[in-house]
């Protein structure tokens, strides 16, 4: 099978105007093709009024390229980029709730927290909350290790990613602003 046709995890980064309804326009492009979105994060960027959507999907490259073209077509989308795992730095954050009694048993949990580069962010009479930032594999690893002690609640965020490319958001947007492709200029030729 050609590489293009093997489904893989890809990270999509979509720069948009900060407009209501856009999330919906974006997700229907996926739902219409019955593509599952593994994770989704929306955040502001260093440029005011510009949002970044980070999506993780498992798809073939060939299919995904077509989907990305549809995303770029959305009027309020500034740009959309597809990344392989090795083209980005990325993190996810996970929170784990365990009971104080488990925590106090034998110091094992504290050791796990230390060894995994996690930290305890809250502690009350009944529970402690552990936070771990990392890749999905890493947060999952801690999950497996904590599981025998009883995880009362677990949540993991969508991926946030920054590309390794040199492109700057602001310069990218400046380029769009100065582009003359807003009009057809037949006479130019």
């Amino acid at each position: 099978m050609e590489m293009e046709q093997v489904a893989k995890e890809y990270t999509l980064s979509v720069l948009t105007e900060d407009k209501p309804g856009l999330l919906n326009r974006l997700t229907i492009i996926f739902s219409r093709r019955k593509i599952n979105i593994n994770s989704l994060n929306v955040s502001s960027t260093e440029v005011q009024g510009v949002s970044r959507y980070t999506l993780v999907v498992t798809e073939t490259k060939e299919h995904l390229e077509k989907v990305v073209k549809q995303i770029r077509k959305l009027v309020d989308v500034l740009g959309a980029f597809v990344y392989d795992e090795d083209q980005i730095f990325y993190q996810e954050i996970a929170l784990y709730k365990v009971s104080v009694s488990a925590f106090e048993q034998n110091g094992m949990i504290e050791k796990l927290v230390r060894n995994n580069g996690a930290r305890i962010i809250a502690l009350d009479k009944h529970h402690i909350i552990i936070e771990k930032t990392g890749t999905k594999v890493e947060t999952h690893e801690l999950y497996s290790e904590l599981e025998p002690f009883g995880i009362l609640e677990f949540v993991r965020s969508g991926r946030v990613a920054i590309s390794k490319s040199k492109r700057k958001t602001e310069a990218f947007i400046k380029e769009l602003e100065s582009s003359r492709s807003n009009k057809l200029s037949i006479k130019d030729f």
Binding site: K69, V75, E177, N182
Partner: protein, 572 residues
């Protein structure tokens, strides 16, 4: 009172409703189609005093309004505008919006909405039309205060008409229509997140010219993109210089005259034999302003595999979507052709053209001679279209509905003038024709407009006879009556062992029906009466309807069965 009006004029303080109309006027709109209701009443009230500047056509259903706006847009080249109320009024637009989206028709649809404080409360006639229309619009926007109106409408027109055109929807809450605002309008000329006209890549133009100059068996596929770009002349100059045979998609019909020596026919499921067969024999396919729809390609896995493909297309998402191209030029057709033509060498592919002519001989023998010149039996659709085509010299605007009559009209009307073909291609919307013909006539009043409809599709939007009557819209309506949902019956015959499951129709007296709307009407069923009936029908002053009773179980051939290779085009 007078003084007050003057002051208001000076300060340009007007209601949101008036701002809607003033904005439309700023966009040079003169005709709109619509249907009133509670949530859009303030706009209708404002329309009352704009009657001299804006012609409003009251259709009989919102689907009629949107299809009429589509017909208007397609015949005039302008943006079609329609107006509807909230809830059911808005949802009734959806079929036409989806149709416009897939056929790239520029539309601005304006809907009323409940007052903004009621949004999300399931108020009377509230529906989430922004959510519902999202997948089928190029852009949509909800206006909740009057100030946003000029912004929304200027963007709407820019987006609808630029790049690959399409429908947009503006939903305006009732309070926004009623509020007062300071009116100022500036047309939208740029949106940084929207780049409708990509730069032409000159290297690609050179590459394309090399492929064209080298080709021994080139074939051009022309689509609606050429008409939308207004590039008919450039297209003709291009193919004439390089001597390229031209096949047309359904929506590309009428870009090049059927009588042009390089025109080799209509391609796709019910297209001509030659273009379908030769697609899999050519060495170069030059696709311009078309999107390789499955009705064109049949099975893509076996489609033009032997050929190099040049794809000239404005919408980047269409490039490599269905058929992979060797050279893709993502740009406007006119712009591209202006650059490409000087680079192509003068050629004359006579031998290759002759192969198409040979295919025509086969098609004539097996299909056309019987279809166009039958000597006995009931009237057939093709001979009717053929006679109309001869009598009108191929110069009318032909609006078709969906079904066998559509394919027959597309095959046999000898389009001899640009911008003459209006049909629902991508969505295949039955009921499109009658209202679209109304709009087409208003968009091109100087031209003769003929609507060709099946007995099934006619009854889907038959209520628009009322609109035709009220405004005395001078269109000529042809019903090809086979008392069947003919195209579905054809599939049942060919692929479902003749199980005619719910496709036979008991029909009303169409002539009497038309007459009840004061529309002159006649029925013909005999071959010897056909010509005279057509003459009478076409020469009638004002709207007229001709019902032709045709053979019930006629099939349209050639046919590429769905999902089959174009090489397997069947002649019988």
């Amino acid at each position: 009172m007078e003084a007050l009006v003057e002051i208001e004029e000076e300060k340009k303080v007007i209601t949101g409703s008036e701002a809607v109309l003033k904005s439309l006027l700023k966009e040079n709109v003169d005709t709109i189609f619509g249907y009133p209701g509670g949530a859009i009443m303030p706009v209708y009230d404002a329309l009352y005093k704009y009657e001299d500047e804006l012609t409003h056509v009251l259709t009989r259903h919102e689907q009629g309004a949107v299809h009429a706006a589509q017909g208007y847009a397609r015949s005039s080249g302008k943006v079609g505008v329609c107006l509807a109320t909230s809830g059911p009024g808005a949802t009734n637009l959806i079929t036409g919006i989806a149709d416009a989206q897939i056929d790239s028709t520029p539309l601005v649809c304006i809907t009323g909405q409940v007052a903004s404080h009621l949004l999300g409360s399931d108020a009377f006639q509230e529906t989430d039309i922004i959510g519902i229309s999202m997948p089928v619009t190029k852009w949509n926007f909800q206006v909740t205060s009057a100030e946003e109106i000029p912004y929304a409408i200027s963007r709407a027109f820019y987006i609808a008409s630029s790049g690959r055109p399409g429908p947009v929807l503006i939903d305006i809450t009732k309070n926004a229509q009623q509020e007062l605002m300071d009116f100022a309008y500036s047309p939208c000329e740029k949106i940084r997140s929207y780049q409708p006209y990509p730069d032409v890549d000159r290297d690609k133009i050179i590459e394309a010219s090399k492929l064209i100059n080298r080709a021994k068996k080139p074939l051009v596929l022309v689509g609606q993109g050429v008409a939308l770009s207004g590039a008919e002349k450039e297209f003709k100059a291009f193919v004439e210089k390089a001597g390229l045979p031209v096949a047309s998609t359904l929506l590309g019909l009428s870009v090049l005259s059927v009588n042009h020596p390089l025109y080799v026919g209509f391609t796709g499921m019910h297209g001509n034999y030659g273009p379908n067969l030769k697609t899999n024999e050519c060495d170069l396919l030059v696709a311009i302003g078309m999107r390789f729809d499955d009705r064109v390609t049949g099975d893509v896995e076996t489609y033009a595999k032997q050929a190099k493909v040049i794809h000239i297309e404005l919408d980047p998402a269409e490039i490599d979507k269905n058929v992979k191209s060797d050279v893709a030029i993502n740009a406007d057709a006119k712009q591209t052709l202006q650059l490409l033509t000087p680079l192509v060498e003068v050629r004359n592919h006579q031998g290759w053209l002759k192969e198409f002519q040979d295919c025509d001989v086969t098609e004539n023998e097996k299909v056309k001679s019987k279809a166009l010149f039958p000597i006995e039996g009931e009237l057939k659709m093709p001979e009717v279209i053929h006679r109309i085509s001869e009598i009108t010299d191929g110069k009318s605007i032909v609006v078709t509905d969906v079904g066998q009559h559509q394919m027959v009209a597309s095959r046999y009307y000898q389009f001899n003038q640009e911008k003459s073909n209006i049909t629902s291609g991508g969505l295949g919307t039955m009921g499109f024709c009658l209202p679209a013909a109304v709009g087409a006539k208003l968009g091109a009043p100087q031209r003769q407009v003929i609507g060709i409809i099946g007995d099934g599709g006619f009854q889907m939007t038959v209520q628009e006879l009322g609109t035709i009557m009220q405004y005395n819209i001078d269109i000529k309506i042809l019903i090809l009556n086979n008392n069947f949902l003919g195209m579905v019956r054809q599939w049942q015959e060919l692929f479902f062992e003749r199980r005619y499951s719910f496709t036979e129709m008991a029909n009303p007296d169409f002539v009497a029906l038309a007459k009840s709307y004061n529309i002159s009407a006649q029925r013909v069923s005999e071959r010897e009466d056909l010509d005279l009936a057509i003459q009478n029908w076409l020469s009638n002053n004002g709207p007229s309807l001709l019902e032709v009773v045709v053979e019930k179980e006629e099939n349209v051939f050639p046919m590429v069965p769905a999902g089959s290779s174009v090489s397997n085009v069947r002649l019988e």
